[in-house]
């Protein structure tokens, strides 16, 4: 299927998940009749009923906390958090309960919950609608954390996340929701790239660009421009932030000997910091330059009329590429 938007691909993936397992339920604010503020759950309540696609009271901790109970009863809840900045009322339930129950119960209680979070900026929104909290969740043992960047991944990764017996924090690139890409809905799920694998999305030999979620497109755009200037950049979509597929990433960096990490979240203490540290450990003798990071500043996400300066764009990525190549 050519040209399917990410939001639509997620919708199709959720539909598949609901069809394939009667224990799958969707819950969140406005996910029913409205179909979600981004329409990701559009039409699902109509087709599966309000027992399976639930409009919840407006309370994020309540959504995740009751999902824990449903999971203990044998259900597989998919929670929608409406915006990144609204996940924090549920942070306690996610960190202290969702993440730890399997460990605390010595494996007797499984918590197969997916928490979907539209993340990132670039949509001209008001505050608390443009944040990138992925590092906060990646820092928590017991959670798995992934981010999709295109329609095909959105379709498969959401289904794989629902099938996972572990809780998955599922980040969706909000500003790319309406961008279209190839999607083959008939490809067997079992043959898809594993959920926690990274993927080389553009091969190259001069430098590895690591990105995930909305920044994959930015990285690919940068690689195209760099190619015009004679530099072949390899772009790796990290896809899974916990666990991280070190093999694919280290193979790429050993091959190119240089690496730039791109993320929207602030650079300080971010996912890029972990990537840089591990790459340094694993690829020390292959590196010709320190791993560089491009990302948000150590400030709150700014008012939207300044956000283009906060968000890494093609020029800032290429600036880092130039610095790495010149090293």
């Amino acid at each position: 299927m050519a040209g399917v938007a990410i939001a639509r691909a997620l919708n199709m993936g959720l539909r598949k998940a609901l069809e394939s397992d009667p224990k799958v339920v969707i819950m969140g604010e406005d996910v029913g009749k409205l179909g979600g503020v981004f329409r990701v759950t559009d039409g699902l309540q109509k087709d599966f009923g309000d027992d399976r696609v639930m409009d919840t009271p407006l309370a994020e901790s309540g959504i995740v906390g009751t999902a824990v109970g449903l999971a203990m009863r044998g259900y597989r809840p998919i929670c929608e958090i409406q915006f990144d900045g609204f996940v924090f009322p549920a942070f306690d339930q996610i960190v202290s309960q969702v993440a730890k129950l399997h460990y605390r119960s010595a494996g007797q209680v499984k918590v197969p919950i997916v928490i979907r979070i539209p993340f990132g900026g670039g949509i001209g929104a008001v505050e608390h609608h443009s944040e990138s909290p992925e590092a906060l969740f990646s820092h928590v043992a017991g959670l798995k954390v992934v981010a999709c960047s295109n329609a095909a991944d959105a379709f498969t990764m959401i289904q794989q996340s629902v099938a996972s017996d572990d809780p998955v924090i599922f980040f969706e690139p909000k500003r790319r929701y309406w961008e279209k890409s190839e999607l083959d809905t008939n490809a067997p799920l079992a043959e898809a790239v594993p959920l926690h694998a990274a993927r080389v999305v553009r091969p190259g030999r001069d430098l590895t660009l690591l990105a995930y979620g909305p920044m994959v497109k930015t990285a690919l755009d940068a690689a195209k421009v760099a190619a015009d200037e004679g530099h072949e950049l390899e772009v790796v979509d990290v896809r899974s932030l916990s666990p991280i597929d070190w093999e694919t990433i280290a193979d790429s960096v050993r091959h190119t000997s240089r690496c730039v990490v791109v993320q929207e979240a602030q650079v300080f203490m971010g996912v890029g910091a972990e990537l840089a540290a591990r790459i340094t450990e694993k690829c020390f003798f292959s590196l010709q330059a320190p791993v560089l990071r491009v990302g948000g500043f150590a400030t709150p996400y700014p008012p939207s009329r300044m956000e283009e300066h906060y968000l890494p764009d093609l020029d800032r990525v290429l600036d880092a590429v130039d610095r790495s190549l010149a090293f």
Binding site: D51, P57, G65, G69, L70, R73, P89, K144, P243
Partner: protein
Amino acid sequence: MVAVPIEIAAGSDFIQLLTPEGERLENAEYPLDISAEEVRGLYRDLALVRRFDVEATALQRQGELGIWAQLLGQEAAQIGSGRALLPGDMVFPTYREHGVAWCRGIAPEKLLELFRGVNFGGWDPNQHNFALYTIVIGAQTLHATGYAMGMQRDGSEDAVIVYFGDGATSEGDVNEAFIFAASYNTPVVFFLQNNQWAISVPEERQSRIPLYQRAHGFGFPGVRVDGNDVLACLAVTRKALQHAREGQGPFLIEAFTYRMGAHTTSDDPTRYRLASELETWKLRDPIERVKAYLSRNGLADSSFYESVDAEGAELAARVREACLSMPEPKPLDIFDQVYAGGSPLVDEERAVYENYLAGYDHAEGGR
């Protein structure tokens, strides 16, 4: 700042079936038909969980447990509600529900494992329909509500009961649980043990109104029961569970009781409450009144009490022995069961640490 005084429970909104003097009262709304044999059974439960609690406290004082959360004074609230449960009902406890655990058939020594630090709860929640202890205050009220939502979808005729305290009523999660339970009309009984103290903070800092009245604002029934009266707790919880089972939705029970011990063995109540308060509550002791009832009606003789005492001594000895002989966890157990589906990161760290430990053994052996 002066705390707003609260009218202490009394009068028609305070359900009591057995007075502190052991006098049996009738209540038309909460009738209880109970045999002498059953009352003796409740006495045995109360006495044995208290004996267990005393032993666990002693084990902590002797350094065998890191900490212990005493149940002392709350036996009737827990045994009364615990004995109202049917096998299919699901329980979500705090960290002090040793009496309810007893009713669910969990061996008391299993409760010590968390407090000794060998694991985070040694029982299978599904086997006993008794979830793990929850230490984050109030978090389990949402789990209970969600579990009850699952029961609704399963067409189950069982119900959920969730325990929490007076302090927890200030938590957002508890209020969200009330809202979700009311909104979806879930079969869940909220069993609030108001033991008057959230560590050092008295009930009046949590609420300007009697806590059971909160339920009305959320749109479901709430009642206050004498939490030191095992018969009243039994009758009221049975009725609340029945209400839930019949599809009438959530129910709040405020069991008005008193934490006669410290919050935990790390606490020192002399810093914040008067000794006279404890003396007042000793007169309302949950076990003494059952004994008084049995004795004044000629339903038990001294040989009965002696046999319960002997059973208590045996239980205490067994629990002590089990505690002292608990296997020590091994260092690499840290890495077990972080994820259901495993994790390459955890595997790698386990291997690295195993290798590190092996190198240490080797170095020592070489000296």
